[in-house]
């Protein structure tokens, strides 16, 4: 890293050339995925073990070990990739390090048992791009994530980082940048899908000497982690997008508002900002281009409603995060009453690609009204959980079945929740719908920020609606009575239903309440709170009726409505379930079928979890 601050564009280009000249494209390298998912599975220990093994082996050719951001295939982590061959090892543990180094580098062979194996076909894949999970994706933002060390600005510069920013400032007028973003058809990836270029233009045209740009990284949807992954993997791409936007809008100061629950992302962001400042990409007269910009990182303190832009602004100002009425929109009067533009992490990160490769290129990806790629976290009852990037317009079925690999255990998949607590459940019959802003809205859901939670026959839709309402009731800021009281009452009705106290007319009451909350709430949170309830009623009314009329939970989830018993046909008498039972309700003799005492059983489900032969039945 150069010690002195870079003052001119030419000097940055020189630095870039130096970095590239010092790199051998054929360098043997092992990259270890170090996203939160892989780190939680022990990726950093794997990296240390690999480094040690390289030292110990004394190879003829030097092998570099480095970390990268999230590669998306979290299910199979920790992931190790061998470059330049692109060999892809999955579920690597520190104990495998020696073998990897010895076999792959010293003997030039592949460690077969660490290759990904398709659970259905049993086929093993040597290279990342061959694996079905990756094959159907179009990885644009995520492509770079797997190549670079997120803590190294040199790595980002080596792949052409900050060239788009320089181009935007040197070659394009702010209005031209806005036109490019408009022509590309980029829409807000935070969920609502407002055209980004139009938003920027409104803020550019607003009167004011000081303007702000904000990156909304307050990713609060439970079951969504794509924003966190981008920041962890490629923080400079977000920063570059913000710089380009600031130039277009005429802002000289920006904020990145990020959840404190994402410590790794915060740390990587801080490192990136520091590095950018060191080379002179932040501060006054950046690279001698006459453009000043400063960025601040502001931590969220755990309030879901702060994902709403006016609440987020209040939070940065040091107040409680309560939304305010719009208009005026932040574009006119935002942070400290100044014109402010807020975009989501994915939106900002898409900008450098548009400027660099042109709006024509970007606009050819996706559908007529929804352009480009978007990133989804694919989780729940699906084989390949992880982070996927696909062109908008792909069908839900392709996402869930081709990329996600379908059900992990052969159970029937029945719905997918899109858009988190503000979204809705889309039943399996509708999975041929294209994933775009309009189609999802027609189905009663929203695109949201990109969480996709897949559910199977063992998921109770009434319980799920109750779950989301419990979340929303807790997260409602309390300003509007419709949202504050409405969510509470809807939750109570749902809770009663799941506990067997549902009554005739509850469904209709939920529908009526839902409409009222939608219409009478101020912000996006309140207006969308009823969505999970209304969509589950719309598509899974029979489950509600089973709970209310027959006092039965068809999915076997609602504790008060189910009974656990052991099927003597299947029970092998292994006694595995006896010790974990918290109420000692399981008795029997070894190698004979056991029985559950339903009198003392508290329906905790632990026996169901531990049984290896599916002998515990819940009905």
């Amino acid at each position: 890293m150069s010690e002195t601050k870079i003052l001119k564009v030419e000097e940055l280009e020189k630095l870039r050339e130096e970095i590239l000249a010092g790199r051998d494209p054929d360098q043997q390298r092992m990259t270890v995925c170090a996203g939160t998912g892989c780190c939680a599975s022990g990726a950093l220990e794997v990296r240390d073990a690999l480094e040690e093994a390289v030292q110990a082996e004394a190879l003829d050719v030097p092998v570099e070990v480095k970390i990268t951001g999230c590669r998306g295939f979290c299910e199979e982590g920790p992931l190790v990739s061998i470059q330049p061959e692109d060999i892809f090892y999955t579920r690597v543990q520190p104990k495998h390090a020696e073998q990897i180094v010895k076999k792959t580098f010293a003997e030039g062979e592949v460690v077969k048992r660490l290759l990904y194996r398709d659970p259905t076909t049993r086929k093993r894949f040597t290279y990342e791009h061959e694996i079905p999970f990756y094959k159907e994706q179009q990885r644009l933002l995520l492509h770079d994530s797997g190549l670079i060390d997120p803590t190294s600005i040199e790595d980002y510069l080596a792949i052409g980082g900050y060239q788009a920013f320089i181009k935007a400032v040197q070659e394009l007028e702010p209005e031209e940048v806005i036109e490019e973003v408009k022509a590309a058809g980029l829409r807000g990836r935070g969920g609502a899908g407002f055209p980004t270029g139009v938003k920027w233009e409104l803020c550019r045209q607003a009167e004011g000497d000081v303007k702000y740009v904000i990156c909304n990284a307050d990713e609060g949807d439970p079951g969504a982690f794509q924003d966190r992954s981008i920041i962890e993997a490629n923080p400079h791409s977000v920063l570059e997008g913000i710089l380009i936007g600031a130039h277009a809008i005429g802002a000289s100061e920006g904020y990145i508002y990020i959840r404190h629950e994402y410590p790794l992302a915060v740390e990587r962001l801080r490192t990136a900002v520091e590095a950018a400042r060191e080379v002179g990409l932040l501060g006054e007269d950046i690279l001698g281009m006459g453009f000043d910009f400063e960025i601040n990182i502001q931590l969220g303190a755990g309030a879901f409603v702060c994902g709403e832009e006016t609440a987020l602004i209040a939070s940065i100002e040091g107040k409680i995060g309560e939304p305010v009425t719009r208009p005026p929109y932040p574009a006119e009067s935002g942070l400290w009453g100044k014109p402010t533009n807020i975009n989501n992490v994915k939106t900002w990160a898409s900008v450098p690609y548009i400027i660099k490769r042109g709006s024509d290129w970007y606009a050819q990806i996706g559908t007529e009204s929804s352009k480009g790629t978007s990133i989804f976290s694919l989780v729940g009852k699906v084989k390949n959980t992880g982070l996927v990037e696909v062109p908008l317009g792909i069908t839900l079925r392709s996402l869930i079945e081709d990329i996600g690999g379908g059900s992990p255990n052969g159970k029937k998949l029945k719905a997918v929740q899109t858009g988190g607590p503000s979204g809705g459940c889309i039943p399996e019959e509708l999975w041929d719908l294209p994933v775009d802003y309009e189609s999802l809205q027609e189905a009663g859901s929203i695109m949201g920020s990109g969480g996709l939670i897949v559910m199977d026959e063992r998921t109770c839709m009434v319980d799920l609606a109750r779950y989301f309402l419990e979340f929303s009731k807790f997260e409602s800021c309390g300003k509007c009575s419709s949202c504050r009281e409405g969510s509470k009452r809807m939750y109570e009705i749902l809770d009663y239903i799941t506990r067997g106290y549902g009554e005739e007319g509850d469904i209709e009451l939920l529908e009526e309440l839902g409409q009222a909350v939608k219409q009478a709430s101020l912000c996006g949170l309140g207006q969308t709170i009823p969505n999970p309830v209304l969509t589950t009623i719309r598509y899974f009314r029979d489950e509600y009726e089973a709970h209310i009329q027959d006092k039965r939970c068809p999915a076997g989830v609602c504790k008060e409505l189910v009974t656990y018993y052991i099927d003597p046909e299947n029970c092998v008498g292994c006694a595995l379930c006896v010790e974990p039972c918290p109420t000692q309700s399981i008795t029997g003799t070894k190698r004979e079928p056991y029985t559950i005492n339903t009198e003392t059983c508290i329906n905790c489900g632990i026996c169901y979890e531990v049984c290896n032969v599916d002998a515990v039945v819940v009905e």
Partner: protein
């Protein structure tokens, strides 16, 4: 931990006296003491010239900020959607049984605080539990006791 006003002052000075520094300052105090001691809140109000009522309002509003003292070890069970559909509810029920404490509360011996959180963002490991920030993925109820024992044993070892 004794509340030293000099420590509180240090945290305040680190973030500045601007209004926008209020939440970061409170987060800093929370990190140091695991909660917001009343003396610290008064100090913040005085030094930052923010009405005490507003400091209190902010402290109450945000979930990451706690007005009550918490345990030595913070156990969180993820209740995000992915964890919910994979049995996160069963998991937290069981942890509560093992620790003899309801979610949101601290054990009598002040060793553990149990909390449910909405999504830690590693849904592939669902259901997930963390103890002091360390992740335990694919947690089935039957593994809970073993994990928590490590933290109990650790204490025994330290005291010996």
């Amino acid at each position: 931990m004794e509340v030293e006003l000099s420590t509180v002052d240090e945290i305040i000075d680190r973030h500045g006296l601007n209004d926008k520094a209020l939440i970061p300052t409170l987060l800093g105090i929370q990190e140091t003491y695991h909660y917001l001691p009343p003396q610290a809140l008064t100090r913040v109000a005085e030094r930052m010239s923010i009405p005490a009522i507003r400091v209190h309002q902010v402290a109450e509003f945000y979930k990451a900020l706690s007005l009550e003292a918490r345990g030595e070890h913070i156990v969180t069970v993820c209740l995000g959607t992915a964890c919910h559909v994979q049995g996160g509810g069963r998991l937290i029920d069981h942890v509560a049984r093992v620790l003899h404490v309801e979610p949101g509360n601290t054990t009598e011996d002040k060793k553990f605080t149990l909390e449910g959180v909405n999504c830690l963002g590693c849904c592939n490991l669902a259901p997930v539990m963390t103890v002091d920030g360390k992740y335990y993925g694919n947690m089935v109820a039957s593994k809970v006791e073993k994990v928590l024992d490590q933290y109990r044993d650790e204490e025994v070892a330290v005291h010996e």
